[in-house]
Amino acid sequence: MRTQRTKSHPPARAFALVASLVLVLALTVLIAAVQRLTAQEFAATKSATHEERALQLAEAGANAYLHQMSNGFVADAVPWMPPRNDRSGSQPAWPVDIPTFRRLAGAGDPAFPVRAYPAGAVRQGYVVGHVQSGSAITIVSYGFCEGAVRMVRSNIEEFNAFDWAAAYGLDPHTQDSPGPGDDRGPAWNFGGTASVVGACGAEGEIKTNANATIYDGPVYLSGAGTTLNPGYNPTPLRSGPGLPTGHIGTGILSYPFVRRKPTPLAFKPVDAVANEYVKARFGVETTQGARYFAATANNQNNSGIHYLVRCIAGPNANKIRLGNRLTISNRNPVFNPPSSPDDATVGIVDRDTEELYGIRFYPGNYCFTQWRQPGRGALRTFFRTVADGEAGTRPDGTPLVVYLDTAYSVPDAHPVPSLSSERNVRIWIVDPAAGNASASDFSANMWIENQTFASRFRVMFASQGGMSIGGYGGDRFTANVLAYNTFVPTSGNFAGQTVSTGRVSINGAYLLGSLIAWQVSVGGNAVLEKQARFEPNPGDRFAYVVRDWSEVR
């Protein structure tokens, strides 16, 4: 009996203990497991945060690099600024995959300059570089954060100042708030029955009447323009064939039609544009601005302008040949061709069979202190905005016939052989070396031989004299015009102040391209149409912009 009790009771007590211990152990394991799962979940969330942060850093690095490409790399401006890192043709070829990036960047490979961002950050930042093939540029940016790495690749392209708008006024000053030089605006005076097709706007005051119309839009009111035109809300109209008169095709109506941008664009004055153009095109550092082209060695004033002679009888009737070279004075050069030059000047051999037909500018840079081409009596002037062997075109792509229905028969070869492949004609208008600036007139009988790309004919107006553009017969003035410059008077009431200049008045003309000026005045039945087609990389880059981007895994 005792034996039975002794044998039966202790196992029962031991079972309770074991059971409770097992239960405690099981609960402990369960709690530990839940705790571990929770910790893992939390770690996963933090990892996702690092992944997201790495992507933000990759984008930040790409934007910083893009900014430096547009505005010039400034070494060590801030510790986190990515340095210029051209990896075109490097081995291994960029972009490398992320494992390779980890290996090489971790080993301190100089092809992967690591920048911590923000300043002082540990284990987070970016590595950026670019590869270029022809005009195609790709920025590659690796962002990293606490072991997470992500890569973005963005293709960028040049954005030209003239890609911005059909007409754009910059002057922010008003009657009530005049600027240096007693500048009282407005940025844009829009009168008569004038029309603008496409993007347009102002960074200052707009004055307009009820008959002026804007087609397609949008209208950008930037900087001071956002507050100086509180009630400006033009009726949205869509362009169509013949609407406005002379328009080809059908436009797309912008929405919203009026856009107010607090941040103004940073258009550069002509002198700054000239300095950048000279450096990019000729590899020359200069601070002369547009006056760089006043030197005879830097322009084609006396090599690229020729008379055109038409045969009026005989086997070559209706053919056009090249006459003599036009002579431009080197001192304060003015383009003001005589309306009736003598035969010897033009190069007419036989007055009975030939007559003066006009003047032709070949591609290159020309510099004048004044342009005089007013009224219907002005000589026809052609701008050969094509390379040797190429034909001119109208805006719809059909061939431009220079005279009647005669096939193009002017000799193709550029008078300056080294410029045979050049397509751009740039006219630089500067102040005279001494004396007052005179107004320029681009009003009549001007023919741009390739009307498909306005970018090939540029008028860079740096003079304090005004500029007027007129037109007769509805032919297009296909051009990009920038009329904005600054100067500092050395005497007078505004001595020492930076005064802006660039007044353009357009009446009766159909300008296809872009007009950017300090002050724009549009009147009569003038039409300004934003050119829809762009030519890649025409020069005078305003900035680089991202065309597309993607993340690469």
Binding site: A14, V24, N63, L66, S70, F159, T263, L265
Partner: protein
């Protein structure tokens, strides 16, 4: 035999009590952790969502439309933006847009802009997340 059995029971009880005490202590500590971590996780996720949303929203507005200086946006408990007129909410996103110094600030679209988003509680007493990025005109 009987004496030995009682002695073992006492030790067992003591050990069991100790183990139970340790287990109970661990359970209490784990309870605190297990209740705190999901909240932290939720705040971390929501704050990340709010910060990312705010950066993307400003980018979508366009570089020229981003006001310089500091502005505040409000988000609800699920991380949804409450609109431009909201003056309160669960999460407060303080956005500071400044041109990068010492690069020369121009006040135009040529500036490189740093966008900093600090996600706080409604009373602005705690910073849940602090994100920064760089923006430029024509960029990503």
């Amino acid at each position: 035999m009987t004496r030995r059995t009682r002695a073992m029971t006492l030790v067992e009880v003591l050990v069991a009590s100790l183990l139970l005490a340790m287990a109970a202590g661990s359970a209490v500590a784990a309870w605190g952790y297990l209740t705190r971590v999901p909240m932290s996780k939720r705040l971390l996720e929501r704050a990340l969502l709010v910060a990312s949303s705010e950066i993307d929203r400003r980018k979508a507005d366009g570089y020229e439309y981003i006001p310089r200086g500091t502005s505040t946006s409000w988000y609800d408990a699920y991380g949804a933006w409450l609109g431009p007129a909201a003056t309160t909410g669960t999460y407060r996103a303080e956005v500071t847009a400044t041109p990068v110094v010492p690069l020369v600030p121009t006040g135009t679209n040529r500036d490189l802009m740093e966008l900093r988003v600090r996600v706080r509680d409604a009373g602005a007493t705690v910073v849940y997340h602090d994100a920064r990025t760089l923006l430029c005109w024509g960029g990503l």
